[in-house]
Symmetry: C4
Amino acid sequence: MGRRLLKQLDQTYGFDEVAIVPGDVTINPELADTRLTLGGHVFEAPFLASAMDGTVSPRFATLMHEMGGLGVLNAEGVYTRYDDPYSVLEEIVSMSKAEVTEYLQQVYSEPVQEHLIGSRVQEIKRSGAVCAVSFTPQTTKRLSPLAVEAGADLVFVQSTVTTARHMSNSYRGLVFSELMENLKVPVVVGNCVSYNVALELMQTGVDGVLVGVGPGAACTTREVTGVGVPQVSATLECAAAREDYFEQTGRYVAVITDGGIRTGGDVCKSIASGADGVMIGTPFAQAEEAPGRGFNWGMANAHPELPRGTRIDVGTKGSLRQIMYGPTSVTNGTQNLVGALRVAMGMCGAYTINDMHKADMVVAPAIKTEGKFFQMAG
Amino acid sequence: MGRRLLKQLDQTYGFDEVAIVPGDVTINPELADTRLTLGGHVFEAPFLASAMDGTVSPRFATLMHEMGGLGVLNAEGVYTRYDDPYSVLEEIVSMSKAEVTEYLQQVYSEPVQEHLIGSRVQEIKRSGAVCAVSFTPQTTKRLSPLAVEAGADLVFVQSTVTTARHMSNSYRGLVFSELMENLKVPVVVGNCVSYNVALELMQTGVDGVLVGVGPGAACTTREVTGVGVPQVSATLECAAAREDYFEQTGRYVAVITDGGIRTGGDVCKSIASGADGVMIGTPFAQAEEAPGRGFNWGMANAHPELPRGTRIDVGTKGSLRQIMYGPTSVTNGTQNLVGALRVAMGMCGAYTINDMHKADMVVAPAIKTEGKFFQMAG
Amino acid sequence: MGRRLLKQLDQTYGFDEVAIVPGDVTINPELADTRLTLGGHVFEAPFLASAMDGTVSPRFATLMHEMGGLGVLNAEGVYTRYDDPYSVLEEIVSMSKAEVTEYLQQVYSEPVQEHLIGSRVQEIKRSGAVCAVSFTPQTTKRLSPLAVEAGADLVFVQSTVTTARHMSNSYRGLVFSELMENLKVPVVVGNCVSYNVALELMQTGVDGVLVGVGPGAACTTREVTGVGVPQVSATLECAAAREDYFEQTGRYVAVITDGGIRTGGDVCKSIASGADGVMIGTPFAQAEEAPGRGFNWGMANAHPELPRGTRIDVGTKGSLRQIMYGPTSVTNGTQNLVGALRVAMGMCGAYTINDMHKADMVVAPAIKTEGKFFQMAG
Amino acid sequence: MGRRLLKQLDQTYGFDEVAIVPGDVTINPELADTRLTLGGHVFEAPFLASAMDGTVSPRFATLMHEMGGLGVLNAEGVYTRYDDPYSVLEEIVSMSKAEVTEYLQQVYSEPVQEHLIGSRVQEIKRSGAVCAVSFTPQTTKRLSPLAVEAGADLVFVQSTVTTARHMSNSYRGLVFSELMENLKVPVVVGNCVSYNVALELMQTGVDGVLVGVGPGAACTTREVTGVGVPQVSATLECAAAREDYFEQTGRYVAVITDGGIRTGGDVCKSIASGADGVMIGTPFAQAEEAPGRGFNWGMANAHPELPRGTRIDVGTKGSLRQIMYGPTSVTNGTQNLVGALRVAMGMCGAYTINDMHKADMVVAPAIKTEGKFFQMAG
């Protein structure tokens, strides 16, 4: 009897394990064009703010627009469950750590009020901003048309893991191709981490794919279920699907790395891995203008059987402008994210995001030799 | 003279080094069937509680049965050495750290009272639970018939490292095939970590094999003797033996990962590595109903020449129901273990444990970037 | 449709990941010749002090010369912006951490006074020392002739990432070959990390190449932009370019590892990776004679869009002589750097730096098992 | 021009990176024969105590003999420099940390008194113990005959890195083959880490080779000079040389792993890597009977240009008997080293040290997941 081969385990990489190699030619950072095109909309900065209640309010979505990015509003959060979401936010923010988890469970057990979806969309549209709203697969078919009727420009459909085939079987017949036809606005779906799933999602006609499942070792999804793929590898996979799909069809679907991004370095590595843009939660929740005022908490309804996200104290670090464009005296890479991307593109000789996809990356040791000695800026 | 080749060292992996990749298709978690069949008995939840005195009492075995799992009683522990084990447990639990090691040595130097084996078995059987008892190889031949006569459904034979050939040479002629014939109840043996040993054990006719020797770098066996194999690799090896053995004989022998499992993620990775079930100590010892009331200690007689297990303060974390089924507000993966398995199976499109064996896994960086920044649930 | 191949990520190594293997023959350390030849100048010790204001003053440059090395003066720092730089240094050093960042920004917003360039050069030349001055690419064409006219022996041109082709396009037509012809003194340029860039720089006729971009995981460049290559791999690449260039042209261009070097071990690994010399900041800023008096701060103008280097408290550890030649009772490798190099060369049987380039290196685990137990000197 | 290949860096392993795989057959630990034969002398336990003044005194050498091992006396330490070494030890042990480094330098600047070499040898011989004394290469030719005349059974020649060819060129013509002929007692030399050097040393006729240069990342040699090879790889290399040499000549030269061993696990991994015995410092310096009374310090004269070993507080952990044979309640593997070796041999089915050389090893993750959760004995 021959000996069976063991399951093959491929090595994967996250942000901390890789580094970008400077190019053979460099350019001045001011020559770098960082634009992202998503569903026909052009964004000067390829940055999306995550659909979390502590991060994106209608007001914050407007501000993201002014900064050249896109804030995605959670269409199933406090803004659509409460006429006055701000008093709820006030409660969440001022409550003690011991009380807040139970309170959050109460807050999100209130039903979504359908009329509020349109109101919030109109609130964003009145400011002149591009309006993007996010739904879970369970509610998309029913609720997303309300947002589109009110003027929403983009619809996001997000769950921890999304596959084209599951949607159609489980969630009241949510077929993305039908959804796209009905809504007549661009749809972005996620999250996924593998070539096959990204490709199948693209084949349904969606305009963007969000990448990221259990990205970090400390991530709740990965700790609780063991499921997850580090973001560099996940982005490389989905970007490969995009290239193949583009070669075959001529249609370019945006790939957005979503989750685990903490620094400008992580943003640049996402792009160098093939992302067209990044979706960020915590770094934006740390903006002075964020509705969570220094706190952030997970999306509701993620997994009813598993622990809900708890409120996390992320602190307030600066204005959104500083976080995106500086100036900053912070040297840990959490501010001036657009500036960091420009400088990295300059060092790689990348005139466009697409050029930056071709930058070389290497696996570089992640272990920091702190304490004993520090290192100067290289 | 040609240069001799050095010994080849294969890379192995533990729970912290791997992650599960979501499937191309996903299913709703409620469709996942988590059943384990062991020796003809069917368990709704593929969870076994370790035969440690601080974890499984007759009462706790009953409770495990009610939860759909199996509690294995140590047939050479306080329950069979003392008429009143509960006063002994009371002493162990209330004693100072300084005194307890010596006291434990005294406790386990008292002889096993043969009549108590039957009593404990009957105690479990009266509750309607499946009754499993564990013996060391040294005593199995003499004592296990007493348990079976009293109605035990399953016999476990456990030592740090068990091989089919050693047993027959050393322990008063313990030949597993003869044992099986005499006892006429299913037998589960362990522990082992390699293809060859697992296969030879299966060939003796046993119904289950326990996997795990020195699983973690912090494990006493590994620190003291250098011997050990991380659990993902060990489970992959033993599961490969099961597949080959099944292909050859048509008989399916359960593979149970035993040791080092701390979170739902570890459970899911065990199953994805090929385990049919998991055996867990500490997470169950942390149940409110556990006899160790927040403490746990190793099995007696493990290695007479080496240090005995000391009493460890594991704390009490919730009811057994919460630990197995939630609800929970704990986000570190140590509660709602069955729910976590269902969600992971859903994300992998696995309808059965057998489907879950086919889930993809990757090597993912284990180093956590704590402190500087945290990561939101992925 | 065939599946696209993912971007290939090569493994790279920093100082902490490698170790040098002793040679088949060893020699007595006193037989080791550590000389570096750079632009026709011979240095007994292959050590350059970085062009940072807290490290190299004209006086410190003289001291480096006396020690057999080379101190490179920042020609765009306090020494050329202020008639009395020492009162500015006094302010920087005595100011509170809260005030100093803003003060540093003020300090470096004063313009360079062209006449001071010549004065500082003459100050160094009068002492009999070899005089090296460092410029940024932006100012090199305009300012470096002033230094050369005043007697400077070597011109350094340094930016975070330097490529031959970028220079000629962007910085007012800075073409290295023209610069060399005009200046008629040797030119050293950097920084770079790859074979191609190093080779192209060598082909412009420069006399030395500085190696190092974002060398460490904790490096600001790498954290902020994700760009960087660990120093062992970067040095191996650039040294390979030097060897190929030498084979083709017969001209030997010095490769200097610059950045991330903290210990004698790091120095030796740089040389074993192919460096002809090392450029060091912090370890020299820790000398009693350093102008920063226990503080160090980054070069000005590095990246206008990104955070400027902040003042770092490096402490004062001993005299420059002790740091370079001992004697020392410090056992962490930060003192007696030349002695360490000699001993390592002895253990590798290397009579010259060139012999040391041929020493074997291995990848050796970097993780330290501190706390639990310590290890004696091997 | 073709691109030059980069230097190849092989992966190496230390104790923390590997684990031993249990065998297909196991045996009872009491059947394991742990004997080491070194220069014709047979030792029940393959343990040598390092020639450090805080570890081995004449009295401790006798005790090691009684325990079945071998204590090697430093023939150039306090015992041969002072008529009354015990008052010097008293000073070293009772002095403050601030004073002791300078005092140690004074202590070892006193000359060796040649007549004391014979006295110490006779002291050991009178007790009936096998007597082994250690010299540096510089003094071996002159001083070792004095030890042999007085009855020494074994001569050790030790320096950080020893090669056959260096010795003959540098140290007053120390040719090992001549030395062996003159002394007419077995000679053990070291240290070395590579196949070639070990083979050449064996070819000079020596009876044993000591393995270990800069074994750990925290090792002074490795931190200061970058030179070092982790012990598992170094032992595998030298053991391969022994096998090839034995095949060619029929003469078996003992390979002794020396340095970096802290636990029973490390001992077992050394043997599984091919060592015939281990040389240990700190774990024996922690014995109640050790002359350093809880302190240890490095061998004198190791590298005159580099920092001398400082006094390290190792603590007193138990009697030598407990450290070697137990019983012990310590579970971190630092006690009952012989018992640990027996148990490991049992789990690998190894009847002899030679059988244990054939045990499988794997690369197993070294990172410990402490804090969050602990792991029970495996």
